[in-house]
Symmetry: C2
Subunit: 394 residues, 2 copies
């Protein structure tokens, strides 16, 4: 049961709306904020003063506008001063970044993730990154929280990738949160998200899907996963397990999957499927998969056939998702980006024969705009969400 | 970009929250409203007075409580006086009802839908229902709007069911809205929803899924569809076409489907599939399908085999949806209710082998609580949503 907001909540929502606007759109004049937020000038002035008092924004006269009259002051997020830590625990690498309010990556560190290393055991390595990054932080800077992107997949000691078991997120949250709080001397929440959701969030906030409220971001990180945005909000599911589209069965009795089932979509569009179809060693991973796409572009017939076959299955499963979700946009992430670009005709052909016209005709197929940074930018967004919900609470 | 609410919006939200509470929960004491809505006593008193002044609720002393002290006044929705019209355009029947605030069906009419009749041509028949129903309406009653549930399927002139083309909803909205406004002398919005969404909404508000925010309602009305609730809100998709799970392909190269594709889930769990599997005429429809389930319960071996086969495919596709959505509850509607009850072991077995443990272990499988009334109750909810969003606007 939703209850109505109090006076204090109204102010908090307005503060959050203003701060979110400059966080997403960058420096903005008071005049534009007045019209974009639907609040009057005196309210904008009071809110800005509160946010400036808390050190979250600054105000300054704009550069020469060339127009007569007193120019509207420009409100800027304190991007160098207010920051979050963002972490990305991927199948084969570990990354940490300091990200400023406004979404800029200010500094970052990365290293390989040793095969077989559980996510929880990555915490000491991430803690070293933080200690290192922290040395360059100005004394006046304000830490607002941390966000973590965790892959649902891990590379096992035998070099093969598999589901990490679904408990990594919880196993990381507590020790990494404790490290951050001890290192930074602040009790700040650490927000966890799976890698697909985080990448979708980043593309929705700052990338290809800005302004789209129904988005499927197909994610590849050893396995196939999706970050799904429904009506403007992330689909998380009841237990945070939503979006595991790679384990939609597309071929009954098909190849065995790492999840224990058979014929999962992942077994037909994963890197291993592409490599097998091209007659290559299936354990080569991302680089080997991209080499197949590259060989296809140079005319290698068996590589071309493999790319077409995987593209066909990519369109097959995607048609199902389009019928289920009626999205406005689909984004192909990871190696699926390259497969899609090389086999767009196969993908389109499957959509034309399998997806319902009314759901298909408006869908836009896109590749990511943010590249490798998406995980860090999205993880930082998880942390900034808390600040934006209640800017003056801390 | 979300902006903060004004004073007036705060009041509107509080009025909506109070009215929604008694609309869903029925007569409620002021004391309970105070604690449930998190507002103080004087605010509850003022809001109740406003709603009573608008004729939406009444207040009265409760029946004998047996406790000492002055009893808290009880706030009741004006269920006999404030009403919506609800319509249901199904494959084989047309229904209309007058539904009171609080969700009670006050009066209703129904008739067969002639085979081949497009939804738009049902409007004159529904208009007759309204004229008839209207004769019993007290002079003091207040009409607040109408809601329509439209099946995405229609029964063609040859007796077979197929997709109606996706434009029925728009083709009905305008003429039916005009009829209602002319008949009732009021400019009220007519809200359209597809039958699966509407049934899900009804079960979520007043049926099996009360309190569950992640729900898949599998709907059967000649075809297979789903009403899906994600994070407490209906999944509609970009163009209102979301939820068409019946056209998820589960068997590549399988049987031809009415949508033009092959091997859709609908071709394996539809009434026709059940009838074919039992060696019976596939065009028998709902009654014939239920007869197969009945025969299976009485020991008919071929009917038992057919039910097991369809139950197996029901679990197969559902496992995919559980991996994608991570729902808290799945509800089996229409003839899928009977198939599920007769083949729960097959469904469970498929979920155990195909659905990911972390998404499967908490999901509750249920049958609908509201029966035939779900379409009318859900359609009325569509209309009441407008009233609850802004109770005093009209």
């Amino acid at each position: 049961m939703r209850t109505g907001p109090s006076q204090e909540e109204v102010r908090r929502q307005n503060l959050g709306a203003l701060l979110r606007y400059v966080h997403i759109h960058g420096p903005t004049s008071r005049a534009e904020l007045t019209s974009e937020l639907g609040l009057n000038r005196s309210t904008i002035g009071a809110l800005t003063a509160d946010l400036a008092g808390a050190g979250l924004v600054t105000e300054a006269a704009p550069r020469e506008t060339g127009r007569a009259g007193r120019p509207s002051l420009v409100v800027r997020p304190e991007s160098e001063r207010v920051y979050a830590y963002a972490f990305s625990i991927e199948v084969d690498q570990l990354r940490a970044a300091r990200v400023g309010l406004g979404g800029e990556v200010l500094d970052h560190r990365a290293d390989d993730r040793p095969a077989g290393l559980p996510a929880a055991e990555a915490v000491p390595l991430l803690a070293e990154f933080v200690k290192d990054l922290q040395q360059a932080v100005p004394d006046t800077a304000v830490y607002v929280g941390g966000g973590v992107s965790v892959s649902r997949m891990m590379r096992r000691a035998d070099g093969k990738a598999g589901l990490s078991g679904g408990t990594d997120s919880a196993a990381v949250a507590e020790p990494l949160g404790a490290v951050l709080n001890a290192e930074l001397g602040a009790e700040r929440p650490l927000v966890m998200g799976n890698a697909a959701d985080v990448a979708a969030l980043a593309e929705h906030a700052r990338g290809a899907a800005v302004g789209c409220d129904n988005v499927i971001y197909l994610h590849r990180d050893a396995g196939v996963d999706a970050g799904i945005i429904v009506g403007g909000r992330r689909l998380t599911g009841y237990a945070g397990q939503g979006g595991q589209v790679g384990h939609m069965v597309v071929l009954p009795g098909g190849r065995p999957c790492s999840c224990g089932s058979r014929g999962c979509w992942e077994t037909e569009i994963g890197d291993r499927a592409l490599l097998n179809a091209a007659g290559r060693d299936g354990d080569g991973g991302r680089g080997a998969a991209l080499a197949v796409v590259d060989a296809a572009s140079r005319g290698d017939a068996s590589a071309q056939a493999a790319v077409r076959q995987v593209g066909d299955w990519l369109g097959f499963g995607l048609a199902n998702l389009i019928n289920i979700f009626d999205p406005e946009m689909v984004i192909f992430g990871g190696t699926l980006r390259d497969v899609y670009l090389a086999a767009a005709a196969q993908v389109r052909s499957r959509l034309n024969s399998m997806a319902l016209t009314a759901a298909r005709e408006h869908v836009r197929l896109r590749t990511p705009q943010l590249g490798e940074d998406a995980a860090l930018i999205g993880a930082a967004e998880l942390a900034f969400e808390r600040l934006l919900a209640d800017p003056l609470s801390s």
